[in-house]
Symmetry: C2
Subunit: 392 residues, 2 copies
């Protein structure tokens, strides 16, 4: 126990130091800090310098701290997003979210079947391509001050839709693979998620206002902040249990928290600065550059990644082409990163014996590639179009 | 992995909710919030409601988060303490720290020998009574706005001295138990620690000022805060490796960090509010009230706890009686809580086969009792003497 704590303290020190250093270098090179933070993780991780390299118990601790980081990130993003703004782009977000699930799923299945994989293998791999992980994108938007743009709002809305559908797709393919697919289960899954979202978005603000009556009592200074922490942890945990990503719950918490928003935003800033870099650095530690030494895996990973990118960009573009080419391209690129959900699907397929360890490696490579490629590309587009796009 | 993360999110939600709720109730009853936070942990812990109850992997994660909390606490306390003030009470602090190690060690050994325990058993039990854990006390001082008092300064200085000597005592008894005691090892241990402290306290401020030159470059807003995080994590980890408690390193980090102290203090406040309650709540989860159902353990635990309390109060009193009775009593009470180091000594004795599981239980009960008893007693003294004691 004590040994783990000591080791984790050192890990956190090196991860934070490397993340800040490479983050500043990134910014000096006109890249978002997140690029440097991801590379910092690769650098101190097990495959390059080997400073942060396990054992398992230590990695679990780091994963949880990283998770707290991305939860704080999405809470902050939610806080900086207005619910009514989000409703205004609702239609575009639903189209982007839905097409963004259908295209990668169809494209992924077609690709794998063409390469002579079995049907269940193909469906599982396709399911792993479905869910966008909005953390990286949200961070880039935030770093570049673009959270107020229409593109950012569409992306955030679409990420919620996307996550609901992705979980339904997972239930679908898991049912198919186990041979116990039932329309009832699928419908229940979908209904549960939609009911959760509807409850949070409609009843949430009222509930927060009610709770605020207590928080206004001058018992303890800073109570609204404690309330925000509670709401965030609670909704993140609930989302997670219901099958949605915990970051969706954190985002919703920020979205509906209307009590002293500005004060809370200021208070959450140092927590953000302390914890968020760990998410990206820890994500970076997972990249094993040697995976790409195996030409078979490298080849398959490349095609899968290309399909993963093209289908999401196409979906984003199709859903928002009426909003102008630049916004449409921005939304498309922003939807590209995949992470946790894709890995969970692949790990689940692995545990069911539906996909091989090699295919799991391909999914891992795809999530890392999409995560690392997106920030610089998105930053380039946002920087070039800064004048047009900022629509506050 | 994912299951652990989900579970930890729920644990954190319930720990934070209970800690804040009971913390506010405590304050309404004119007790420090920390009393409620400790009880919150007992309540949601494995032995009462059983909400936070393992498995092991989950508990390790919670321990690390709790550790980050107490590190932030001691960093904040260091930030609010001035190095020159501490130097001014140096003599008193050294006397309190030294007597506070000798008296419990001698008293503990005498007690155990009288109760017919073996010499190594007695020495190990006595060693477990030595180290004060300054977290609880520092929190009470801070909650009641008494960090500026002479008593608080003596206690903080004495805690550092105490920790250095406690580790030396551990090396001593471990050497005796294993039969490989060498004066050289002891001297090296002591020298290492003193050198570390001297280096940090004398070279530290200059080093921080040098680093600040970089931080003043306007590359990234908030750089001084990042620097503070790095220094804290780094010194905490180093202290831990050298054998001192990580919180001593965190305290030193706060003490020597002289760059924009006020701004940093404001920024660390929300991080404090987010993480510190977890330390006390998680500590509370360790209390198993059923231990006290065994009359043999209960009896021994009571005598040991009484000796643990009386010897520390006496040491505090002896070292500071010239500063007035109230200050002397405050210092004495403030030095009472024991925690990690005592448990580490006991666990070490258990692993060497020197002490029994039953005696380990006694040490555990003693740490919990001293931790839970101190806050209300200390608060009562501080509140009664508020007018006299606040000496800013």
């Amino acid at each position: 126990m004590q040994a783990t704590i000591t080791q984790v303290l050192f890990d956190l020190f090196f991860l934070f130091a490397a993340a800040r250093l490479l983050g500043e270098i990134s910014e000096a090179l006109r890249q978002p800090a997140v690029v440097g933070e991801l590379l910092a993780g690769v650098l101190v991780g097990p495959h390059v310098l080997g400073i942060v390299a396990g054992p398992e118990q230590e990695l679990v601790v780091l994963d949880v701290i990283a998770e707290l980081g991305v939860i704080i990130l999405l809470f902050t993003v939610g806080l900086e997003t207005s619910l009514s703004d989000l409703r205004r782009v609702g239609r575009a977000a639903i189209v982007v979210g839905t097409t963004g699930v259908i295209l990668p799923f169809v494209g992924g299945t077609a690709l794998m079947l063409t390469l002579h994989h079995t049907t269940s293998e193909s469906l599982f791999m396709a399911a792993a391509l479905v869910a966008t992980s909005v953390g990286v994108t949200a961070r880039v938007f935030r770093d570049l001050g673009s959270l107020g743009t229409t593109a950012a709002k569409v992306v955030l809305g679409a990420a919620v839709v996307d996550d609901v559908l992705a979980i339904t797709v997972l239930a679908l393919v898991a049912g198919l693979a186990r041979g116990d697919l039932s329309e009832v289960t699928l419908a229940v899954t979908l209904l549960e998620e939609v009911a959760f979202l509807a409850f949070v978005v409609f009843a949430g603000p009222r509930l927060v206002r009610r709770l605020s009556d207590f928080a206004h009592l001058p018992i303890v200074p800073g109570s609204p902040f404690a309330l925000a922490v509670l709401l965030t942890l609670g909704l993140a945990a609930l989302s997670d249990v219901i099958g949605l990503a915990s970051i969706i719950g954190a985002f919703l918490a920020g979205l509906i928290f209307e009590l002293r928003r500005e004060e809370i935003a200021n208070q959450v800033e140092p927590v953000y600065e302390f914890l968020v870099p760990f998410f990206f650095a820890v994500t970076g530690t997972r990249l094993d550059p040697t995976v790409f030494a195996n030409p078979r895996i490298l080849g398959l990973a490349t095609v899968v990644t290309v399909v993963a990118i093209v289908t999401k960009v196409a979906a984003g573009f199709l859903g928002t082409r009426r909003l102008g080419t630049r916004t449409a391209v921005t939304v498309g690129i922003a939807m590209v990163p995949r992470a946790e959900v894709g890995l969970i699907v692949a790990a689940f397929g692995l545990s069911l014996g539906v996909i091989t360890a090699e295919l799991y490696g391909v999914v891992l490579a795809m999530t890392v590639a999409t995560t690392v490629i997106t920030p610089p590309v998105l930053a380039a587009i946002l920087n070039r179009g800064a004048a047009e796009a900022v629509g506050e």
